[in-house]
């Protein structure tokens, strides 16, 4: 290891990764910036270190490993399943701490057995963390994007509202705001003059006429009907918006959603609690729960100590590529997240993989682990 500021435990950590049957990969520090901005959004631009190649390509210093590891997997056309491990420096401006720091982690790609892969990755994270911090009580918080989505769908909200709520998952403030608005809609939506006109012409209830009208208007005004949103996209969402404006969540459904989001209990008790919740609220979320149960069973099978694990229904991570399991690990009683991860089944396709590759992984904040280990001594 040529780098002298590596945490002292880096060698042991890599040995642990190897023991967990992973392939160590390295990725270039200088990466194309596009995939990061595309996945995380334009806001990331302020926090990453960008430059340009001689030919004008946007480049950045690696702000994290998941995207580079996945890109490398796609480029080298490696078969799946494949388990990768990484350890290296990442570059990102943070509110606290240095803007260059070490991360390590595992990406577990292509195992079709979702529950087993989820359990394995949580087990990996707990294994390597407890080896670094033998004297500490670790606490795992688990959430599940797909259970949340299933509950939202089963509550019978219009599609537009489902999307808003799903988009807000993991952002407690935004979620509270949306629920409050659903309970007591203040603005019934803003509609322009054009909408009043098409409504007066009776087109709002006739999708085909509305689509034709929008298409003709676009052509007449020099807009392409396929470069951006199509006439049908606009017509459908207009309908959705009309429904959105008219939706008021009845008290019972709101209470169901709040009761769900308030669930916070030991993971071992979560399957029973979720089934009882769904039964009482008469929600059909069997598929999502089946996967949830299977994961809890797989965790037990993998021998992970269920003691430190809690399920919190409202727990999500605010990145729109997570699709199922999300989790974080802390030392009990301290706020610093030492490990964070989850399932991202869509990411590889979004990055250009030809076939669907399910994926789950986590990363470790080595500087925080070092601090926690220091406290331990």
């Amino acid at each position: 290891m040529p780098l002298i500021d590596l945490p002292g435990f880096a060698g042991d950590l890599l040995a642990d990764f190897e023991r967990r049957n992973t392939l160590r990969v390295d990725t270039p520090v200088i990466q194309p910036a596009e995939p990061f901005l595309d996945m995380a959004g334009e806001d990331l631009r302020r926090r990453i270190f960008m430059t340009e190649s001689e030919t004008g390509e946007s480049l950045c210093l690696r702000p994290e490993f998941t995207i580079p590891v996945c890109l490398r997997h796609i480029e080298t056309a490696t078969g799946t399943p494949q388990r990768y491990a990484y350890l290296g420096e990442v570059f990102r401006q943070r509110r606290d701490g240095s803007s260059e720091f070490y991360q390590a982690g595992i990406e577990d790609l292509g195992d079709p057995d979702t529950a087993a892969a989820d359990a394995r990755v949580v087990g990996d994270a707990l294994f390597v963390l407890s080896n670094r911090l033998p004297g500490e009580r670790l606490k795992v918080t688990l959430g599940d994007q797909s259970v949340f989505e299933a509950v939202i769908a089963a509550c019978g909200l219009p599609g537009g509202w489902q999307k808003r709520l799903i988009h807000a998952f993991g952002d407690q403030k935004q979620l509270d705001r949306l629920l409050a608005e659903l309970a007591d809609p203040k603005s019934p939506g803003v509609f322009g003059h054009d909408v009043e006109r098409v409504a007066a012409l009776g087109m709002l209830d006739d999708e085909e006429r509305l689509v034709a009208h929008i298409g003709e208007t676009m052509e007449a005004t020099g807009y392409s009907t396929n470069a951006s949103r199509s006439p049908r996209d606009i017509a459908r969402r207009l309908k959705e918006k009309v429904e959105l404006a008219a939706t008021r969540l009845d008290k019972e459904a709101l209470a169901v959603m709040r009761a769900f989001l308030a669930l916070d209990l030991p993971l071992a008790d979560a399957p029973a609690a979720l089934h009882s919740f769904a039964g009482k609220a008469r929600l059909r979320i069997d598929d999502a729960l089946e996967l949830f149960d299977a994961r809890v069973a797989a965790l037990a099978l993998a021998g992970a100590d269920p003691g430190p694990m809690r399920y919190r229904a409202a727990f999500g991570r605010p990145l729109d590529y997570y699709t199922g399991l999300v989790f974080e690990i802390h030392v009990e009683g301290t706020p610093a997240v030492l490990a964070g991860g989850g399932r991202f089944d869509r990411l590889l396709t979004l990055l250009g993989a030809r076939e669907h590759i399910p994926a789950v992984g986590f990363s470790l904040w080595l500087d925080r682990i070092e601090q926690a280990a220091g406290r331990e001594k």
Partner: protein, 231 residues
Amino acid sequence: MTVTIALPSKGRMKDESSAIFERAGMRITAVGNDRSYRGRVEGVEDVEITFLSASEIAREIGSGAVDFGVTGEDLVREGLADADARVEFAARLGFGHADVVVAVPEIWYDVDTMADLGDVAADFRARHGRRLAIATKYWRLTQQFFSGSHGIQLYRIVESLGATEGAPASGSADIIVDITSTGSTLKANHLKILSDGVILRSEACLVRARKAEHGGNPLIDRILAAVRSAL
């Protein structure tokens, strides 16, 4: 200490700023010939005038290279992170009005608010295989408004240095963030401003660099008082 004031070097902005300084009793004359980029104030020692382009003025105030500048608020807020900590908008001068706005194609019947746009942005990629693209030269203002004020993260900025209003029709972007004074250019391009889509109501301002040595300097106070009295 010499106080440096940066003024616009050409066009209406130059004429209007000269007129205000003249009303303030600070007539500005060019040093050397009329087209010189340096000037002085008649009868006031220790004031230097430097004529620069409006966007350079924003940068020079930000770095503290000049003490005062006259330029558009939009350029200062776009050019500087933490603008209010680094400069003081000392006086709004009543000309150069322009709003920085979010505009979408008129035909987007379903989009009239930022909340609508947030909904469209959230599943844009699922439908179109790419993020919602915004053409603008206002990177910073766009990011602050979309992410900071409206929680919208999922979009991409396409840099546009001119004729931004043509981008949606030409297909190089979906929507725009641009300045408008009368709205007629937007209208001609079949774009509409969102009902809560005004990011900034900008106009020409007298802007002061926040420098420690300005404290207790009578010349600074005198310039401020004179310009304010002329409005």
